[in-house]
Symmetry: C2
Subunit: 205 residues, 2 copies
């Protein structure tokens, strides 16, 4: 598993010319690091005004961020596994008509899985960006640069995941699926852009 | 060393409420992952037009990216070490006038080191973004989403490092130093914003 490698070895794996791991896993890593930083801020003993309201808001954020971070961490490996299946499907034999049909079906199924993983990374990144607003409003102001870094990483992770959704989606023939995914991708990207624009003043204020 | 930890353990360390590792190390990680992805694209056997010119441009980019990636990887640990020294300096005794003077000097020296590390992360991220242009122009178009993810991560790393420069710089009393750093930070941020604006069309074109 990529997540059991040392950081140094994972970076070396990204740098190697092997097909995987690539941008999809790197995008999931960036978002997982962003969600982890937000968990840190939510866990600090000091809050913005040390009120019960702050503590309740941060504890709610911490609990949802833990789930999001675990899913994003899993996606580092899932994205690579899904892309390996795409590569494998393209290598299937295509001599007979039966082989061609089986290969096409395998490619379509693999591309769909390789679209679903970065689409989920986009969803979780957007959810973590929602939590970042709570942390900016209720968290320890001394950690505002950590919230700012987290927002930058989550937006990069979401944007990187989007590039991977787009690439894989372009090969999928099921039009109902591609239309629905494209609509959700647009929505998630707009939501992230709005949150990014809000974040800096909220964080430093 | 943070870079010898597993990815899972590093994420857990970011999420813990301990003072370090925090946003500075996470920003360096994002940029190191971005530079690594660019190294991968530079190492692919196929290039844009399989010309000697492509191969020469990519080989030059690969060589500079290797150095940049190594420095960014080292900065993951350096940022945490520098911030630990800041925390340690603030904890020094301040009973006598001598103790106060020694503490102030230690804090100023530690803040300067804690500014220099993220400032270097900004410089290397900007250099890697320069290399991304070369890869978009000469690299295998099939890897354009990897270049796009790398650009997103490097811009997030540069932006995150900037937040850390700003926080530490605000405590430094040497005005000649703070003016010079502030000017370089503005320049690097502008350079990154221009490159980011250029990158998407170049990558997908």
């Amino acid at each position: 598993m990529l997540t059991d490698k040392t950081v140094r070895d994972l970076l070396a794996a990204f740098a190697s010319s092997d097909a995987t791991p690539g941008g999809g896993s790197a995008a999931a890593l960036a978002s997982a690091a962003g969600a982890s930083l937000l968990m840190m801020v939510a866990a600090l003993p000091k809050t913005r005004s040390n009120s019960d309201e702050d503590r309740a808001a941060l504890s709610g954020a911490a609990s949802s961020l833990t789930g999001i971070r675990d899913q994003l961490t899993k996606a580092i490996d899932d994205d690579t596994a899904a892309y390996d299946l795409v590569v494998g499907a393209y290598r299937l034999p295509k001599g007979s008509e039966e082989e061609k049909a089986a290969r096409t079906a395998a490619i379509q199924a693999a591309l769909r899985a390789a679209t679903d993983v970065p689409l989920r990374v986009m969803r979780w990144s957007a959810q973590a960006l929602d939590a970042a607003k709570t942390l900016a409003a209720h968290g320890n102001p001394a950690a505002s640069s950590d919230v700012g870094v987290a927002v930058a990483l989550l937006r990069a992770g979401l944007e990187g995941a989007r590039l991977n959704v787009d690439v894989n989606l372009s090969g999928i023939r099921d039009e109902a699926y591609t239309r629905s995914v494209a609509a959700e991708v647009r929505q998630l990207a707009e939501r992230a852009a709005e949150q990014g624009a809000d974040a800096p003043p909220a964080v430093s204020g």
